[in-house]
Amino acid sequence: MATRSRLHIAVFLAPAVLVYTAVMIWPLFNTLRLSLYTAGDDGRVFSGLANFRTLLGDPRWSVAFWNALGNNLWFFVIHMLVQNPIGVALAAILSHPRLRFAALYRSAIFIPTILSFVIVGFAWKLILSPIWGIAPGMLDAVGLKALFAPWLGREEYALTTLALISVWQFVGIPMMLIYAALLSIPEGILEAGEIEGITGWAAFRKIKLPLILPSIGIISILTFVGNFNAFDLIYATQGALAGPDFSTDILGTFLYRTFFGFQLQLGDPHMGSAIATAMFAIILTGVCIYLFGVQTRMRRYQF
């Protein structure tokens, strides 16, 4: 029995492992390696951690880097404070047994998630345009024209506006995950609670919320990874310079500008790789904190 060949495991794993190695693992390690080199007079020269010293030590690079990281954090905070609570609330409402047209709402809210960033960015840019947009007109119709500002063009609003656009696009994902988790709660538990006199809001807070907490954890970490890898929306609406005055510059756009170059600025793959490595380290740290600090302590219930 113990000598039975385990070869079939390797055979079944091979295709996925090979493809994943070729398109993910190898490029990842190559990028990490590239960040340790600089362009010398004759080709690539190994320079140890010099690129990271420049990134964090040189006043110009470090200002840009911390600015991008700070913006990225704010982007993430908005998602955590707005997207996820709204997602949970929508799921709770949708799972209410007496809600009519639930399937319709569910699809309508989920559809933006499958749209391309370019379409979302362009559509919102038009909606918010001070010249052709419908936003100023709609505000005018309710007498609030004074509240309108060219949000995407003002340093103090642009990043928050973009974060909210992203929330609009992706709120369907936490909604769906939580919705599925809510549906998997057995009726019996809720009924038992009802007999004890726990109904409505109390039932949600005391029974459902603890049961969906693991799902909320997964959503948080997905949001974290997604936000720190974000690039597309900012690039599609504000361009690679992430204006106004770099107020919407996040790590993704900073990486793009550095790696590929922009207009007269030539690309620098080595500094670019250093930024990519820093992003990788930030995301890895975040995920590790979650996995070892949060998830292991979370209580799970078996039905």
């Binding site: 010249i131 060219p150 063009g153 003002r154 204006g243 106004p244 005055d245 170059g261 207009q263 600025q265």
Partner: protein, 418 residues
């Protein structure tokens, strides 16, 4: 056995077939950022070439202007770039040549048709090798709505004081937005703002070369003064100009909602197609009446040969044709606003293009201050200028602070400025 043999025959014939097709017709692909010109290339320029050169087919495959450099570099590295490469001026193309991506074209007979100044943007620093055939330059100035000017009884301004008086008058009247420009895309602020009005202040080539030699600084008065002017533009731009994009500005002007458009001459063909009113143009206003005037006549576009092209012989034939007077006439008239750099005089029919090109006779030409040598390092002076100009217009940075920041950035890597 027979089946494999049959398959072998089939394979052989298909390979033979494609081999023959290739021998008959060579297709050359052009990489470009001029996606606005797609129809002109397809309907006018390429048919004229193909008619004279049977057996060579040409395809024009542009990408978006802002992405062109990045896209091109990746394609060249991956070996998937087209045979003919539209060249940005100065360092972007120089780096491609030095990296062995662009072929040396010094031996091309057509090179004799271009002056040294015309070729300077696509040569090595010592001028020994030329790697792109110059196609055109663009001239900066202001395009205005003639009907609006007539309606308000305004004359074309020649001095700065007159210019702002005109803007005040349009603003007071309220029918038109005085000037159509936004800061969302940033580059207009630098290109159509700073480098448009600047040459009058830094005296064109004199100031530009002094900056390169290190005898002038960006904090000197001639380089700060244009920012002081830009800071005043804010009041004359439309509501919400901070989020106004480049296409927004173009549409505002061609729809007749704005009276003046800070322009590059490349807008002419698009504006002719869109606008239903008559347009005129005026050169950047000078400080005082009678001052010498300077214009930005920027060598902007050329075309080179991908060193890895499989059809370099045919591509060279195409490039010889691009250097001919025939192409110059065809191109300058198909694309009014792209002024030929060919030494042969080109007759142009478009009145607006004639107006722009007439400034070459009375003003001194220069190129954009940030393009040659000064954008070689990090931070990149051109990109910083976009940011600084947009900040100055939005009023979030003072002209002096912006100039000081640019100077500090330039001095951090450029030896003559240290």
């Amino acid at each position: 056995m027979t089946r494999t043999r049959l398959a072998g025959y089939l394979l052989a014939t298909t390979m033979l077939g494609t081999g023959l097709a290739r021998a008959e017709d060579v297709t050359l692909t052009i990489e470009s950022w001029r996606n606005d010109d797609l129809t002109i290339w397809q309907d006018t320029i390429i048919p004229a070439f193909e008619a004279a050169h049977p057996g060579i087919k040409v395809q024009f495959t542009p990408s978006a202007p802002a992405e062109y450099n990045a896209v091109l570099n990746s394609r060249l590295d991956a070996g998937s770039a087209g045979d003919l490469i539209t060249c940005r001026p100065f360092d972007a193309s120089l780096a491609l040549y030095e990296g062995g991506k662009l072929a040396d074209l010094s031996g091309l007979a057509a090179m004799a048709n271009f002056s040294d100044v015309a070729k300077s943007a696509w040569q090595t620093d010592d001028g020994a090798a030329t790697f792109c055939v110059p196609m055109a330059s663009v001239i900066h100035g202001f395009i205005y709505n003639k009907a609006a000017f007539a309606e308000l009884g305004i004359e074309v301004p020649a001095t700065e004081a007159e210019f702002f008086a005109v803007l005040d008058k349009i603003k007071a009247d309220g029918t038109y937005i005085p000037m159509a420009m936004g800061t969302s895309d940033q580059w207009e602020a630098a290109t159509m703002g700073y480098n448009n009005i600047g040459p009058n202040s830094w005296k064109g080539e004199e100031g530009r070369l002094a900056l390169i030699r290190g005898t002038q600084k960006l904090t000197d008065e001639p380089w700060v003064a244009p920012y002081r002017q830009l800071a005043k533009w804010k009041d004359y731009l439309g509501d919400g100009f901070e989020a106004q994009t480049y296409p927004d500005s173009q549409n505002l002007f061609t729809l007749g909602r704005a009276a003046i458009y800070p322009a590059g001459s490349w807008e002419i063909s698009g504006f002719n197609a869109q606008a239903e009113f008559e347009m005129g143009a005026f050169a950047p206003p000078v400080a005082a009446a009678g001052d010498e005037c300077y214009i930005s006549d920027h060598t902007d576009i050329a075309i080179g040969l991908n060193a890895a092209s499989a059809h370099s012989e045919e591509a060279r034939q195409f490039l010889e044709w691009v250097g001919s007077a025939e192409f110059a006439t065809l191109y300058a008239n198909a694309l009014p606003g792209f002024f030929s750099l060919n030494s042969a005089p080109v007759a142009m029919e478009d009145p607006l293009a004639q107006e722009f090109v007439s400034w070459r006779d009375k003003c001194h030409s220069t190129i954009r201050s940030t393009y040659q040598i000064l954008s070689r390092g990090t931070p990149n002076l051109e990109n910083e200028t976009w940011n600084a100009s947009a900040n100055v217009i939005r009023g979030t940075e003072t002209p002096e602070a912006a100039a000081a920041r640019l100077q500090e950035g330039l001095a951090s890597w450029y030896e003559p400025q240290k």
